[in-house]
Assembly symmetry: C2
Homo-oligomer: 411 residues x 2
Amino acid sequence: MSELRGACIIGQSGGPTAVINASALGVIRTALDTSCITRVFGAANGIRGVLDDKLYDMDQEDAAELDLLKFTPSSALGSCRYKLADPDKDDTDYKRILEIFQKYDVRYFFYNGGNDSMDTCNKISKYMQKAGYECRIMGVPKTIDNDLNGTDHCPGFASAAKYIATSCAEVWQDAHVYDTGMVTVVEIMGRHAGWLAGSAALASLTGCGPDLVYLPEVDFDMEEFLADVKEIYNRTGKCMVAASEGIHYADGRFVSEAETSATDGFGHAQLGGLAVMLAERIKKETGAKVRGIELSLLQRCASHAASKTDIDEAFQAGKTAVEAAVSGTTDKMVAFQCSRDGGYKCEMVLQPLDIVANIEKKVPREWINAAGNGIEQPFIDYVLPLIQGDAAAPTEYSLPRFAKLKKIVAK
Amino acid sequence: MSELRGACIIGQSGGPTAVINASALGVIRTALDTSCITRVFGAANGIRGVLDDKLYDMDQEDAAELDLLKFTPSSALGSCRYKLADPDKDDTDYKRILEIFQKYDVRYFFYNGGNDSMDTCNKISKYMQKAGYECRIMGVPKTIDNDLNGTDHCPGFASAAKYIATSCAEVWQDAHVYDTGMVTVVEIMGRHAGWLAGSAALASLTGCGPDLVYLPEVDFDMEEFLADVKEIYNRTGKCMVAASEGIHYADGRFVSEAETSATDGFGHAQLGGLAVMLAERIKKETGAKVRGIELSLLQRCASHAASKTDIDEAFQAGKTAVEAAVSGTTDKMVAFQCSRDGGYKCEMVLQPLDIVANIEKKVPREWINAAGNGIEQPFIDYVLPLIQGDAAAPTEYSLPRFAKLKKIVAK
């Protein structure tokens, strides 16, 4: 494979995680150190930055500040939720992207995101191939939802899982302090896949885990739920529930949606508020003191409690993407191939973008208990190695010291 | 002062904090090491444990497990919200307490709690004096609300403040990631005093702080609030608000109560839900995407992010209480006297229980800006030294390793 000289662009897309910037750093640092990559650009707000010709010049950033990306949550370059059209129907955006690639002689494009981002990546890659423009295009995975196909797990998931488990253990302590009854419901992100809600069960390893865990992989039944809570509450005086925001009835309606019927501006169900709603139902049913807690954005940006394993793997994913592209690879997403027997090992592999995009990987049904209100040991064995190690994130004034980038727009 | 030989009881009361157990450890460890203290009991669920003759024998606990109390949130001995009657009207409880004290030859009583607990402590102390039963009674302060009179600050406050500031900084990163508009409202505990909500402003030291901060010390005006948010949102496309759950209108009605009119079983306003409510109002007014985040129990039990200064001071407060009692002191609460000029120093002093009980210390008006929507530098200078240092809490499986006490009930 002949050496391909040219500039590179790194873009970030979709919802933030605690470690997506570690992946960006993996790309940026490796690209800056690679001689055939002539310039390194960060796209402002993902693919929007390419369309708007707003590219940050990463060569002008201070190296020490860049290094802090490893411990800076959310997407430092900015994100977007922009969906590219089907190029066969409308290729306006693609022509514009090609134009910008040509303008800056971009020969490497790295896109750091989740499901939709891999779809974007895939579409751009196919378009460039068709247009005969040589550009190596690589996906770098991230998503707290852990629902990408073709990879053992996704960077960002483990840090959220660790935060969720830690918070549940702490809340358990708090919720068990009085000699009076108390039911606590913790609402956890995850619209279609229950990886995060299931991770609440890790808290049981501390002796302080939820009594009941509900994932969207199993149809929710309100009567059974209330009976389960009542049984535990009547027996022990306490009950702690962890529930995915995406739990739904057998007919597909989200539980939160069915009860509140709130929709966002586009008519989509706006999730959230589930914890409070379930808590109110329990209160009506049992008379118990209740508390609904929504972990909200906290669970995806808590870099102070990130998993070191997650940070390191996220960085490695970015690094691998650049190394693979420079070696001639294109049209692939970096993925993790892991073994857990005889100690955890994680190997970087490459997966075709086609098999990643638009498929949601869910928790296997057999990893959830038969009653659908708890998880089984294989789930724990799967997640536990991923949350190991503490971030040891740098601080200033004993508060997080995030990267402060100059973000100088390239001319 | 002659040596007083006898048993001691330590009880915990009121809402949990991340470090109240560090104070309990300060008491227990020091008492165990003090020869004139013959036995060390932990009251199950505060004063209720005394009334119910349910005392845990601390001598039977494993020393290493006890040490973990330094990093275990919530009240390990259990808490209560039991209010003792006025002894002049009904002395039933006091007679019972005296009976238990006599049964176990209790000569030292340490009560670890907030405002109401100091009142309990004070009433018991006065009753024992009147009854001619020699018992040295000491209050050990705790409250995340930081509203105890007679002390520079309260153990538990700083760890909550640190968690709040850290979380706000992280959420800021998340809330600024898209190129579309976004308004975030973070709801923080504190019914009458704004120490915790004000601490959100510490996040500004990271470059990622709230734009607007509302404390209960200033009457809230909905129209002004919406105008403030709109101005910032229109100018920058984002706005982050930190608000105390206890903000109220000029007529005294809590904002959350006035809008939702929810009450608890006793007819008291049930606070909470403020963030979501304010976010909805902003959405209606501006059309902005909004997010309401309630820090809920998380802020008071996040031992994984506790302040080392807070832990150390909490421990020291417990230790000092025992040392002072053994030296002949009674009827006092351990308090902090601090200086900040030329480096932070914190000295343990003793305050009469009378001046502590039933007075709520509020944020000085001049520490809040004139508009009542932000805080001034003296507030930062006050809080910042308190949050210094990381807990370095022990972990197992990279999850919190909390103390596991045997809690053997004394015969």
